[in-house]
């Protein structure tokens, strides 16, 4: 275990961005929520970039777009290794992979999600038949169970997981925003330390307990978001049109 700064008290996990960034270091394993940058915490990723953290081993659905989501971490050569389901929307990551500068492992998207969830809920892995008969089974153990063959897909965790919530309270309870939810709820469970960036931080009791998606017990720190600072890809296309 890395020695890290002390965590905030459980009754108030709200910290400054600067305080949260103290937990990031070169060579770390970092997991992030988001799907094509939608739902990837913008303020934390920008902070990681500006702090100069490098040699990262990343786990997330994709590499975003060059200017969106996790994309700038690749553009600025901060990533050594990536486990993702696709990188097609970030051609710079593809170029780095082709040149051997970036090590990429692909996992089918649903399998990747379940591997992260498994890590987050204390399982050793999951049994999946998706990808049998394809290169996705290369190097994977198989297991026969009740007459069917499965790939043994190991659980995933990370030193730090970062997620993007619509609302958080000081206990770390989270709700998300429409399709920006995607990988965030289970990524939030899979970090040794989980940091949630929220558009709005509300008082304890303000969130309906029936509607909380991520219970605060999984979240170690809450940071106020500064909002989306990039231009969505469909906005870029509209500007070009």
């Amino acid at each position: 275990m890395n020695v890290h700064p002390p965590l905030p008290p459980r009754e108030n996990k709200v910290v400054s961005l600067a305080r949260a960034l103290e937990f990031f270091h070169d060579g770390m394993t970092l997991m992030y929520g988001g799907f094509g940058g939608i739902g990837t915490p913008p303020t934390l990723t920008k902070g990681i970039l500006e702090k100069g953290v490098t040699n990262l081993s990343l786990i997330g659905n994709d590499a975003g777009f060059p200017e969106v989501g996790p994309g700038p971490l690749f553009v600025n050569r901060r990533v050594r290794r990536l486990l993702a389901s696709h990188i097609g929307s970030n051609p710079i990551a593809g170029d780095q992979m082709s040149r051997g500068e970036l090590e990429v492992e692909f996992s089918p998207q649903g399998t990747l999600a379940e591997r992260i969830r498994a890590g987050g809920v204390g399982l050793g892995g999951v049994l999946v038949d998706v990808g049998l008969g394809t290169v996705a089974e290369t190097g994977k153990a198989t297991l026969e169970l009740e007459g069917r063959t499965y790939l043994v897909e190991p659980a995933l965790t990370a030193e730090i997981a970062i997620v993007y919530a619509a609302k958080a309270d000081p206990l770390g309870n989270l709700v998300f925003d429409k399709t920006a939810r995607n990988f965030n709820p289970f990524v939030a469970m899979a970090g040794d330390i989980t940091i949630a960036e929220a558009d709005e931080i509300v008082p304890v009791g303000a969130l309906d307990p029936e509607c909380i998606v991520t219970p605060g017990i999984f979240v170690d720190m809450v940071v106020q978001s500064e909002g989306i600072h990039w231009t969505w890809i469909w906005e870029q296309r509209k500007e070009q049109a």
Partner: protein
């Protein structure tokens, strides 16, 4: 290849020398129109495969266009693997929400009864067999229904995304593609040479030239595009085509 350039390749064969990376030359046109026309023609035909009241996932790219051709009043529920059931048309300009998109990252809208969920739930419903149909793009489809659509070694390294789950687990898989590649090579082949997305998964292939069903006996030609012949389709297909009954015209 000694065979003449197929209609679908006519537009793409005029490669833009100044921009060799361009996927197609939008200024060129062939007998079936521009590449945009061809894409819409394929999407329109594929849309007719969608039955009322079904749950459908549309893949990224040309499959996304299919939604434009599905009537709004037939109760189709579109699923997006980024975590939504029941998305609707793109909102009017100025009303888009960056946090409300389809799996291609393009803005969509909520329909009544829509729901949001995380990606494990999205793929849970896919793996569990709750999707009636998926429509996916294809790089190659084999005579036995193998699909390759995620990787061209040494050229394209996008990754499989959610395509393996969709191809392997949706109850019905419609593969849509131009009939041949930009280089005029058949995309419907006896054996896929590209890495597979899933084995024996495709039920129906829709191209700008033909509608072809994958059966235990092989590929059966069901429909031919207006103005084209069975022989023409066969010439541009890299696997034997069975024609047990006269094909329809679309």
């Amino acid at each position: 290849m000694s065979t003449p350039a197929p209609p679908s390749a006519a537009a793409g064969s005029h490669r833009d020398a100044a921009n060799p990376g361009a996927s197609a030359n939008p200024g060129a046109s062939g007998p079936l129109g521009t590449p945009a026309d061809i894409r819409r023609r394929i999407a329109a035909r594929a849309a007719r495969e969608i039955l009322p009241g079904t749950v459908v996932n549309l893949g990224i790219g040309v499959p996304t266009l299919v939604a434009d051709f599905v009537p709004h009043d037939i109760g189709v529920i579109f699923q997006a693997e980024n975590g939504m059931l029941g998305y609707g048309a793109a909102p009017p300009p100025g009303h888009e929400d960056g946090h409300l998109t389809n799996a291609g990252g393009l803005p969509v809208s909520e329909t009544p009864g829509a729901s949001y969920f995380d990606s494990t739930v999205a793929f849970g419903m896919i793996r569990r067999g709750r999707l009636d149909m998926t429509i996916l793009g294809a790089l190659q489809v084999s005579a036995r229904g193998d699909l390759a659509n995620w990787l061209v070694p040494g050229r394209r390294v996008p990754g499989m995304g959610g395509a393996m789950e969709l191809a392997q687990k949706a109850r019905r898989v419609v593969a849509i593609t131009t009939h041949t590649s930009k280089d005029g090579e058949p995309k419907i082949v006896s054996e896929c040479t590209l890495p597979l997305t899933a084995e024996r998964c495709v039920h129906l292939i829709v191209t700008e030239l033909a509608v072809i069903e994958v059966t235990p006996d092989g590929l059966v030609l069901r429909e031919v595009a207006a103005g084209h012949s069975v022989d023409e389709v066969a010439a541009f297909t890299g696997a034997p085509l069975l024609v047990p009954t006269p094909p329809g015209v679309f």
